[in-house]
């Protein structure tokens, strides 16, 4: 019965983590202070 809820919860969590990766990348760009990629 609750299988769908748990599967959606799992997918939702990992989708959140992917967004978190993008957020961290954005934070990194903002805080790069001039020194970029070689």
């Amino acid at each position: 019965m609750l299988d769908v809820v748990y599967i959606v919860l799992t997918l939702g969590f990992f989708a959140l983590m992917v967004a978190y990766v993008r957020g961290c990348e954005r934070l990194g760009r903002e805080g790069g202070e001039g020194e970029g990629r070689p």
Partner: protein, 571 residues
Amino acid sequence: MTANGWLQILVFAAVTLAVTKPAGLYILRVYDGSFRWLGPVERVIYRWCGIDPEDDQHWTRYAAGLLLFSAVSMLVTYVALRLQGSLPLNPFHRAAVADRQAFETAASFTTNTNWQSYAGETTMSYLSQMMQLAFHNFTSAACGVAAAVALARGVARRSGGRIGNFWADLIRGTLYLFLPLSFVLALVFVQQGVIQNFASYVTVHTVEGAKQVLAMGPVASQEAIKQLGTNGGGFFNANAAHPFENPTPWSNFLSMAAIFAIPAGLTYTFGRMVRNQRHGWALWAAMFVLFAAGVTTAYWAEARGNPIHAARGVDVVATATNPGGNMEGKEVRFGIANSALYATVTTDASCGAVNAMHDSFTPLGGLVPLVNIQLGELIFGGVGSGLYGMIVMAVLTVFIAGLMVGRTPEYLGKKIQSREVRMAMLYVLIFPAVILLFTAASAVLPQGLAGLNNAGPHGLSEMLYAFSSVTGNNGSAFAGLTGTTYYYNTLLGLGTLFGRFAMMVPMLALAGFLSERKTVPDSAGTFPVTTPLFVVLLLGVILIVGALTFFPALALGPLVEHLLMGLGKVF
């Protein structure tokens, strides 16, 4: 405390020191690609999976690969556990695992936590044990080491955010590190008496004439990776206190040595990768000091025993025929020294296997495993996670040292600026936030309070331990908490996921950011990271971060329980 007990602890410490270099060199060769004795197998896997091992991934792609693999493998395990009743290798017709427990178990094993709210021998089929749980034992451990090696690459080189190939790291770690070592250790365990079979359960008559059913199964193969991969999930409910999982003093010693071998070796690997071996040893020294403090406290507290027992005439003094101290919840086979040592090792290293019940330790004895977890599982730590947790603390240490002298901090030649510190702080703050928020919610919600079996500070300790254990990806249970409810299964499962991935992502970002920085040579203003002063400062940062975040909760739990125990109160 006895001389024999101390001798065993000292021998264990010496073995940990002795295995650090060989283990570190072995790991180095696995991940730098020079160790290729299974090259044909490796190439076939790459071809079938469409992997280019030379594809140096940006940290965002590395993180995405790790998340994708974890999500898919977790969902497969969830479905397989729910369909267990219809799948083969199920001679005792175990039914489908309940939805809430399947979610928690899948999350727990995917994250290297192995928190178990079920009894393995009465819940899981042989197929579930071998193809789902053991699979995660290998791959979650390989993911952890891969992430640590990726961070080491980020520190060691300038590559524009590229930190290696996740898929190659995952396969190499599994193929060259965990599979062969587990195979050898499993054979040693079998020689020691750990069972390995597909036999039916055996009914025996005890000396008292009662009937007892003895569970069988492929235990040794799971036991080896359980310890080497710092997973900790037992085949049996009693975990390493069960004589079929841990039959002899040698199997007990080897288990503990296996738990520390790879995390200790990784400090050496890191030193080699960043071409600063003395820094690798400095990290090792910091870990060792915390380990030594923990085992000394736990052994002292358990050997001292419970004054309430003494007041009621129980002999708590060790003699030739009486172990003395607090033997409640401990195996007579292992005694106090080996129970205290095992509890310290398993919680230092985010393993979670237990050979004694931590809930039955004295308040200060139980405080040690709890604090070990709450310091961030970096005292050797989980495979990979221990090293990257310690590196994050080292970054914070040089940042604080830099603030003290007013210079831009550097870590191994890389400048530490705001974005690196942001990632380090995200890593540090998520951990206590999850633990304390979930514990606080459970302490006030009726669903949370319904799971308690002990009142007062001991009940709070049980709750705090549960959320610390899952968020720290340790998996050991303090026991005493009824976790088989929708509330706890779901929340504890989520705790494992946040504790693993919400911390791994900023750590990988830190790796990527560091790899974008050029390496600058040491100058007069560089804080040296190889000296005793650095080790002391690193220890200070770890303890202050831990103390500031968890001391209030610990004061309400084990510390007040210890004081009340002195007044004769029990909970």
